[in-house]
């Protein structure tokens, strides 16, 4: 556990060691704000609601999160530092959870930096606090799932671009299988199954402010499952 924290600390600092973290943060915040206020016509609609925001961010996450996770393992493989790292007296799961924790912390930080948005909107009108809390919880869980997927794909290649595209595609597919447009074209019997599987449909119920333990368990198991795959893929290229 201590090793996990040491690795998480090192990884988290390395986000800020280069300009990457700052670029990500600025781009993400500017993009969400611009899209939210301009494209979604917040001021024209004139409603104190953040529904559009929570519709927008999961889509932005599809690009943003694979970019955050792509270098975590691919870079280690490419630079050969994986060899030094994995011959240190640490267990594979400690390294995997350490890396996840660092990127998760970065994600939570990014999401937290959008908090001025609901605070401002709350001053404009009557904001549904439950939906906001649910929405933010949903973002964190959804983002964490994307991250776990991104880390896993990153662990299988030494090419960051491959890692990015791989996790983008997997996240996109898992997100879309629960979207209504896709569901209507599918045979009826498969719909509940697809909805259960989809990262998107679980998000839409949390986002309404309905915090159901099933949804939380779903996201936690997605994270757990992909972290497990990550440990396996790291171990398959080395000893125990």
């Amino acid at each position: 556990m201590q090793n996990t924290l040491i690795i998480a600390g090192k990884e988290f600092r390395s986000y800020f060691g280069s300009a990457i973290a700052y670029i990500f943060l600025v781009v993400f915040l500017v993009l969400t704000s611009v899209l939210f206020f301009e494209l979604q016509k917040f001021f024209v609609v004139g409603q104190a609601t953040m529904r559009d925001f929570f519709g927008l961010v999961p889509v932005l996450f599809l690009f943003f999160i694979p970019a955050v996770s792509m270098r975590m393992w691919a870079e280690e493989r490419k630079m050969g530092t994986l060899e030094t790292l994995m011959t240190l007296p640490v267990r594979s799961w400690e390294v995997v959870t350490g890396k996840f924790l660092a990127s998760f912390l970065f994600l939570v930080m990014t999401i937290a930096l959008t908090l001025p948005l609901p605070i401002i909107i709350a001053s404009l009108g009557n904001l549904d606090t439950g939906a906001i809390i649910g929405g933010y919880l949903g973002l964190i869980l959804l983002g964490g799932s994307y991250l776990a997927i991104g880390l896993w794909t990153s662990s299988m290649t030494e090419n960051q671009i491959v890692a990015f595209i791989g996790s983008f595609v997997i996240c996109l597919v898992l997100f879309l299988v629960g979207v209504d447009i896709v569901l209507t074209s599918l045979p009826r019997w498969i719909i509940p199954f697809m909805k259960g599987l989809s990262l998107g449909s679980h998000f839409s119920s949390i986002e309404r402010g309905v915090i159901d333990s099933r949804d939380i368990i779903y996201y936690l198991s997605v994270i757990g499952f992909f972290l497990f795959l990550n440990v396996r893929s790291v171990e398959s290229s080395r000893g125990k």
């Binding site: 060899e83 994995m86 640490v90």
Partner: protein
């Protein structure tokens, strides 16, 4: 300290290591010698628990690499080939990180860190980012990283590649000093390196051990190959028959004959044939202008072993 038994490793169809066995005693500096692609790095990677073996076993300080790998890794300091480091970290920051993972805490970590900077000659580089260090300093930092927890076993994969001649000498001196109290395996394809730093040599070719012993022992095994060069004043017609009669000469070949001198390369069944050859010249009243025995160098043994049939040792 290290026991390698029938170690086998395959990558797809190619056999990187074919039932390799050897021991390294405590305090020994073992040189792993072989051409590129012989399986040196693979062997070191198995010993350091980076990759699993397909067959056989490796024990380091009485711990098995497969079942007690974390314990094994605690005992080992490892410098992989080309010293891979995190380019975006600072020198101190990196050593701090390794120190923490190596479970060095508080004042002990600080004192080990200072010691490593001192021993590895990094004191002028402490404020630098790793990415801005030259190859030589990266290698030193890699060594510092491998030594920080004072491990009983040190494994170095080609520690001097890419360094300039001065740096090579410095790193070798460093290894020699460290080797006085630690067990070291180092791999290299540079021969003088093993002669100057290693107490024992293992020559690997195509995944098999083709020879082992001290540098002198290996040279001794190949004594039959040594040549003595002699030059006499006179003509080949008068000198050669007398040489042919000499018992200790097993192989005679005329190298050049010019300006009233003849030069021969002589293979002998005696280890030091100079005296006999000198007496022979005196008896026949030949004037001797050259008498030089060329000891077989590790280079020659290496070339012979890695290009021809393996010999049993």
């Amino acid at each position: 300290m290290i026991e390698v038994r029938n170690l086998t490793k395959r990558f797809g169809a190619t056999v990187a290591l074919d039932s390799v066995s050897f021991d390294v005693a405590g305090g020994e500096v073992l040189g792993l010698l072989g051409p590129n692609g012989a399986g040196k790095s693979t062997a070191l990677r198995v010993i350091t628990c980076y990759i699993p073996a397909d067959g056989g076993s490796v024990r380091v300080a009485d711990h098995d690499t497969m079942t007690q790998s974390v314990e094994v890794r605690r005992q080992i300091g490892y410098l992989p080939e080309n010293a891979p480091l995190y380019m975006d970290m600072g020198v101190i920051e990196y050593l701090e990180f390794i120190g923490k993972i190596r479970n060095l805490n508080g004042p002990r970590r600080a004192s080990r860190l200072d010691e490593m900077i001192e021993v590895c000659g990094l004191s002028r580089m402490t404020h630098r980012m790793i990415g801005t260090l030259s190859k030589g300093y990266r290698q030193r930092l890699g060594l510092a990283q491998a030594l920080i927890h004072d491990p009983p076993v040190l494994i170095l994969d080609e520690p001097t590649t890419g360094l300039d001649p001065n740096q090579i000498i410095e790193i070798r001196e460093l290894i020699k000093r460290i080797g006085e109290e630690k067990t070291i395996i180092l791999s290299t394809h540079i021969l003088p390196e093993v002669e100057t730093t290693c107490s024992r040599v293992l020559i690997i070719n195509e995944g098999r051990i083709v020879a082992s012993g001290t540098a002198e022992e290996l040279a001794g095994q190949a004594a039959g190959d040594q040549k003595t060069f002699v030059t006499f004043k006179g003509s080949a017609e008068t000198i050669e028959p007398a040489l042919r009669e000499c018992e200790i000469i097993t192989d005679l070949s005329l190298i050049e004959s010019a300006q009233g001198k003849v030069r021969y390369a002589i293979g002998s069944n005696k280890e030091e044939p100079e005296e006999t050859l000198f007496n022979l010249a005196v008896q026949n009243k030949w004037t001797l202008t050259e008498l030089r025995r060329e000891a077989v160098s590790l280079e020659q043994i290496f070339t012979r072993l890695t290009t021809q049939e393996p010999i049993e040792s």
